[in-house]
Amino acid sequence: MLEIKNLHVKIDGKEILKGINLKINAGEVHAIMGPNGSGKSTLAQVLAGRQEYEVTDGEVIYNGKNLLELSPEDRAREGVFLAFQYPVELPGVSNTNLLKTAVNEIRKYRGLEEYDAMEFLSLIKNRMKLVELEQSLLNRSVNEGFSGGEKKRNEIFQMAVLEPKLAILDETDSGLDIDALRIVANGVNKLKTKENATIVVTHYQRLLNYIVPDFVHVLYKGKIVKSGGKDLALELEEKGYDWIKDHADEITA
């Protein structure tokens, strides 16, 4: 589904990603872990199409298409979804209105008929249950005055409505208490199918107790320095990032 080859990315002249290679198949969950500043969020943002980042080398093939050539909205329409680390507030724009516009833009792109109000309503009613979202959040302005937990839950709710092929969760666990974490993780798990894939970007192993990854990759100084199964996350948790730093510095030395 997704193949990242030798991806190099710069921002403000500084190289953040220094040759990322990663292959993700449909049905898989990949966790990307790493210490602060290792480039995890940069990777997520670049995949979603944030323009400030300059790709200096490498390529990203997504379902046979050159992802980096697509506009951010076309990537979304092709099924790439980013759950933001810091979801933005959109005063005056109701959650429902955003989602209706988004769903129909995506459907139009795929040559499907747009949903009418009734069809849309039944879709969101059904999806709300997945993340135990309160009805009142639907009519409120997107993320405005939401608590940290509500914002993250709202991201997963949007994901549930848009049904992406490739979901990228950027630090979705940060700022969540344990109950909210469980709700969010449950939602993500229920959305998992054989056809879609998920990238979970996280600093802590905690989330991975709930969303169990098939692969864990450790990002350090812009490179993937170690990959493994779900046990790698536990090992990391136990030994700390210093262990990986020593390990990585050994390799690069």
């Binding site: 909205e73 933005v88 005056g92 955003l98």
Partner: protein, 482 residues
């Protein structure tokens, strides 16, 4: 700001005015220039009674003693009042009972604008008095309205057929001495709409007029007068589009509203005159005096405006709250893009007891434009228990535009309660990217944000107008934001 954002802003700003075309109808015009002779000729063409000519001449003589004001926050080349032609009318003088008799060229123009009269008649049940250039060419639904005693006609007709009402009310809210442009309008007004709702009648449909400036070099001096007698209600819609033009066109309209006891007038405007090209060349100067007198007890006047066009907009739809318990409302969305300038707002003058006013103003600036809110809330000494709530928000798109707020508050009675809130915000790159990431294009993202921002005002518009206003906003901001 990233370079992408800038590119998008430029792209949006570069879109051409969608309604730029000129209708090919021979116009009968007076040669440019203004003196007493011009006014006499104008009055004669319109077969006006003596008293009307006298009134025009008085206004003209007063105008000669006045100076063009320059206190607004707008800049423009001086207007040469002698270079303007003060009358232009479609040459084939139509006497119309139905749309079939309307010049087909004209109908085509309306169709291009998406405001086909047939469409309107059939679909929305709106009675339309279309003012094309300066002469009314079609008045529909007149019959069913007249059964209720409602008069809805052009100002010229009203002068002929209802002189007692015109004499009584015209100039009673905006006297010709009021200001420079009102004096000019009083001297040379070409036509406009006249509405009279008799005692106890609730007008069963939205009354609507589309103005369109067509002949080049013809200043437009519309004059509108709306009277709601005791207990009457009327909702009036005014919407405008104009063809592309290189020369600046002056538009100095006067609108007067009079609400007697328990009467209510709702006046909505969607204004989309040619704003000039992206360098500010051409475009309409829109210097308008709009004022409503809530004369009776419990009377109410509401202004709702969506201003997206004109090179320069200079207008303050105001309410004089004379009657006890009278209410004044002002809801405004003013959009400026490219080189547009707008200085707009309202005046709420509290005179009666227990009067209330609400001001909701949403300014949106994009491109290199400048958008100013200027508003006055005045409570006179004997106005017990006056209430005002004002909210003035500014939204910036890009980093080359300006937003300004000039509130004037003048309170002379200690029982008054006045609230003023103001905010300034900017459409952020983060917001756009967030929406992009949900599959929404930049243009649609901006529309979503802007429409969300204007929601409070749009909900005051009649349904069909609200839809039109939203479309207009997207057209105005096309390519403008990043």
């Amino acid at each position: 700001m990233s370079t992408t954002e800038l590119t998008t802003i430029e792209e949006l700003a570069n879109k051409e005015y969608k309604y730029g075309f000129v209708t090919d109808i021979e116009a009968e015009s007076l040669p440019p220039g203004l003196d007493e002779e011009t006014i006499k000729k104008l009055s004669a063409i319109k077969h006006e009674p003596e008293w009307m000519l006298e009134w025009r001449l008085k206004a003209y003589r007063h105008w000669l003693t006045m100076k063009e004001p320059h206190w607004s926050n707008v800049k423009y080349e001086p207007v040469d009042y002698q270079a303007i032609s003060y009358y232009s009318a479609p040459k084939k003088k139509p006497k119309l009972n139905s749309l079939e008799e309307v010049d087909p060229e004209l109908l085509k123009t309306f169709e291009k604008l998406g405001i086909s009269l047939e469409e309107q008649k059939r679909l929305s049940g709106v009675a339309v008095d279309a003012v094309f250039d300066s002469v009314s060419v079609a008045t529909t639904f007149k019959k069913s309205l007249s059964e209720l005693g409602i008069i809805f006609c052009s100002m010229s007709e009203a002068i002929q057929n209802h002189p007692e009402l015109v004499k009584k009310y015209m100039g009673s809210v905006v006297p010709y001495t009021d200001n420079f442009f009102a004096a000019l309008n009083s001297a040379v007004f070409s036509d406009g709409s006249f509405v009279f709702i008799p005692k106890g009648v609730r007008c069963p449909m939205e009354l609507s007029t589309y103005f369109r400036i067509n002949a080049a070099n013809t200043g437009q001096f519309e004059r509108t007068l709306i009277i709601a007698e005791e207990g009457a209600y009327v909702s009036y819609l005014e919407g405008c589009t104009a063809p592309m033009r290189d020369e600046n066109q002056l538009h100095a309209a006067v609108v007067e509203l009079i609400a007697l006891d328990n009467a209510q007038i709702k006046y909505s405007t969607v204004q989309n005159w040619y704003a000039g090209d992206k360098d500010g060349k051409g475009g309409i100067y829109n210097f308008v005096t709009k004022r409503g007198a809530a004369r009776g007890v419990n009377s109410k006047i509401s202004w709702t405006q969506v201003e997206t066009g004109s090179a320069i907009t200079w207008k303050y739809p105001s309410c004089i709250l004379q009657g006890d318990n009278s209410i004044g409302e002002f809801y405004s969305v003013a959009v400026t893009n490219n080189m547009q300038q707008a200085d707009t707002g309202t005046k709420m003058i509290h005179i009666g007891k227990n009067t209330k006013s609400t001001i909701i103003s949403k300014g949106i600036s994009a491109g290199r434009s400048n958008n100013s809110y200027r508003g006055q809330v005045k409570v006179i000494k004997r106005a017990e228990n006056a209430r005002n709530f004002s909210q003035c928000d500014s939204l910036l798109i890009g980093d080359k535009c300006g937003a300004h707020t000039f509130p004037y508050i003048d309170i002379n009675n200690p029982t008054a309660r006045i609230e003023h809130e103001a905010t300034t915000s900017k459409i952020g790159e983060d917001q756009i990217f967030y929406l992009n990431q949900r599959g929404i294009s930049t243009e649609d993202a901006i529309n979503l944000i802007v429409n969300g921002y204007c929601k409070e005002v749009f909900k005051e518009l009649p349904m069909e107008f609200a839809v039109e206003a939203q479309k207009l906003l997207s057209v105005s901001l096309e390519g403008s934001v990043g």
